[in-house]
Symmetry: C2
Subunit: 389 residues, 2 copies
């Protein structure tokens, strides 16, 4: 690697869980990476701290009210400061970086990622909603602009790792593992009383708030199934979800000859982050290793689709296709934030998603504009439902 | 694949467990493979039957007394018939095949494999003793003649499958799984009374007699560790043996970034056989699949080196290096066949191996001739020990 120039990374969503861990990876490997773009929605204090430490070419603060604070704090540096949603898209097109780590949470990550693809940037994709909402268009664009999309989600990274070197060998199915979240084995009469604080305690993974709630409802696994469908060009029936409470096997691929490949390790998001950033190279590190020395057990079971109906809804949305996953995702984002604000209960989230899916018009072959409109429509409808709780 | 010519396979050891399963694979994929050489030590009846079915260019019967029977039976065909140990080596050099499936059991497989490598033939290696006895020389020769050695042992096939596409990414360690055999959890006071019939009942794998006994004593795992060392260019301390009674994970690779890749499936030797024959292509098949649908569990534990001392002896032989693995292997072959003939007890096998290792002279950097001499010497010594039982 000594003769190679550094890979210039743009972290879209640098103050979140993925973003901060990505900066740890960059800090640990200064000969491989530099952070050239950092963006945050609202956390100006952390963004400023990161910019002072990593001296990126550009920072973007989404919240325009905070622009003066960031501008002032970085006035003595070479870092340019932008603000607002439009700036995110503009910066995504600029020739100041090589790879975008797309780590903005939710639908908001879609447009900048699309701009990056059209600018020919490699994508390390941590934002699953981008593919859930508009997977067909994103994948078509990536092929058109010859842009690699390397997944950062631990499950999809696992599958990606299992596929390297397999050439044209066909996938029979993929097996997405799910920890089951903090409420594995629980039934609806328990779930109806679950509170925010309880749902935010994930047994294995340390993640942001949105994804932690999605893990507790199994919606996260549903979104991952849809993401996997697009990333790996699969039919819905080629994707199996298996509950694996230990989160050691991150996911598996079964090939046409029946052979299964799995990628395993302790649950630590830094590994897939660094893998996506350095692919095809693996970076030596001293992260703790999974240890087979003492007796240990890996368990597998079917998911309980009757209790965790979000997963069933996501599978249904995938089968219906078109803009239905976009509707599912929009309604879910609204529902999760309402739950996080204690406005609706745990099981209400599923009802909001289901009713929104039933009421927003299905479009079989949507354009990008259709997706944008569907997203808005679904959010408005979901919001109106929440007003009634 | 339609425009490709068939791969011409030579099965050395066609009447054994691996050989017959390889012929099943060829029969199921006549557009991909033809069987051009079949060899057997003593089983003339099956060799004749196979030759009539597959019409190879050449068959070799090791046992010269049986030559007239085979010759007579195939007199109406185009198949040429040879006999004797020398013929095995001569045929291995002939330009009638592309890939040798080296499936002769034990030390006897070494010389033909060496001839095949020197003739530039690809090797599907089912004979682990070849690498155990003279791994340094075999690997050096394979590199010199640019010959791929693709392992057929399920564990080494698993590791090989995990390594495809990883380029220069370094192996931190490999984790060889072991079922533990039929006597997992037993202690010496039980093992001392174990009989041939009992030891031949492997819980998961259907294999030949020699390897089934080696699995019961864990010597098989010891030989595999040594084999892996040469196949994957590892230091002894980079190889970990883990007991995994279900035999679903066939083995694993841990890379420098801590990521572990595993290859899994139901225990079925046809899969690694066909993988080695068709590599880099995987052949679709309808072999039964491992199923995650019902609750299931994979367990892991450390091996009991105090009870299963053969594994400890193999690890010790690997560390000492030179001709010590050759001594270990020769003594073990003599001991296993003595046990199969009810001449010595189950635990006596270990004593024979240990005493032979202590008494045959260690050579740090043996030549090929040294290996041949060591093998003879160790067999003679082990035989003499067995006379005393």
């Amino acid at each position: 690697m000594t003769n190679k120039t550094k890979k210039r990374i743009a972290i879209f969503g640098s103050t979140g869980s993925i973003g901060t861990q990505a900066l740890d990876v960059i800090a640990a490997n200064p000969e491989l990476f530099s952070a050239e773009v950092l963006t945050a929605m609202t956390n100006d204090a952390l963004l400023i701290k990161q910019a002072l430490a990593f001296q990126p070419a550009i920072v973007v603060i989404g919240d325009e009210k905070k622009y003066p604070i960031v501008k002032e704090a970085l006035s003595g540096t070479d870092t340019q400061v932008y603000c607002g949603e439009k700036a995110l898209q503009e910066v995504a097109s600029m020739d100041v970086y090589d790879m975008m780590l797309a780590a903005i949470v939710g639908y908001a990550g879609l447009k900048p990622t699309l701009m990056a693809i059209e600018a020919g940037k490699a994508i390390a994709l941590a934002n699953k909603e981008t593919l859930v909402v508009a997977g067909d268009i994103i994948i078509r664009k990536a092929m058109e602009f010859r842009v690699p999309i390397i997944p950062v989600d631990s499950e999809h990274s696992a599958i990606f790792q299992c596929l390297v070197g397999e050439g044209r060998n066909k996938i029979e199915k993929i097996i997405l593992t799910a920890s089951g979240g903090p409420f594995l084995g629980r039934k609806p009469n328990f779930l109806m009383n679950v509170k925010r604080e309880h749902a935010l305690q994930h047994p294995n993974w340390s993640m942001g708030a949105k994804i932690t709630i999605d893990s507790a409802t199994l919606m996260n696994k549903g979104l991952e199934v849809i993401e996997a469908r697009w990333l790996f060009n699969l039919k819905p029936e080629q994707i199996q979800v298996v509950i694996h409470p230990q989160s050691i096997i991150h996911s598996m691929v079964q090939f046409e000859d029946g052979s299964i490949k799995a990628q395993m390790g302790l649950p630590d998001m830094k590994l897939p982050i660094q893998y996506a950033m350095a692919f095809p190279q693996r970076i030596p590190n001293t992260f703790p290793r999974y240890n087979f020395k003492q007796p240990n057990t890996l368990q597998f079971d079917e998911p309980d689709l009757k209790t965790f109906r979000n997963l069933a809804l996501a599978l249904e949305a995938m089968k219906q296709g078109g803009n239905m996953p976009c509707i599912l995702n929009a309604a879910n984002e609204i529902a999760v934030y309402a739950f996080l604000k204690n406005r609706i209960g745990f099981l209400d989230m599923t009802d909001v998603v289901e009713k929104t899916m039933q009421n927003v018009a299905h479009i079989a072959e949507p354009t990008l504009e259709d997706y944008f409109e569907t997203d808005g429509e679904a959010r408005t409808f979901a919001d109106s439902l929440i007003q009634m709780y």
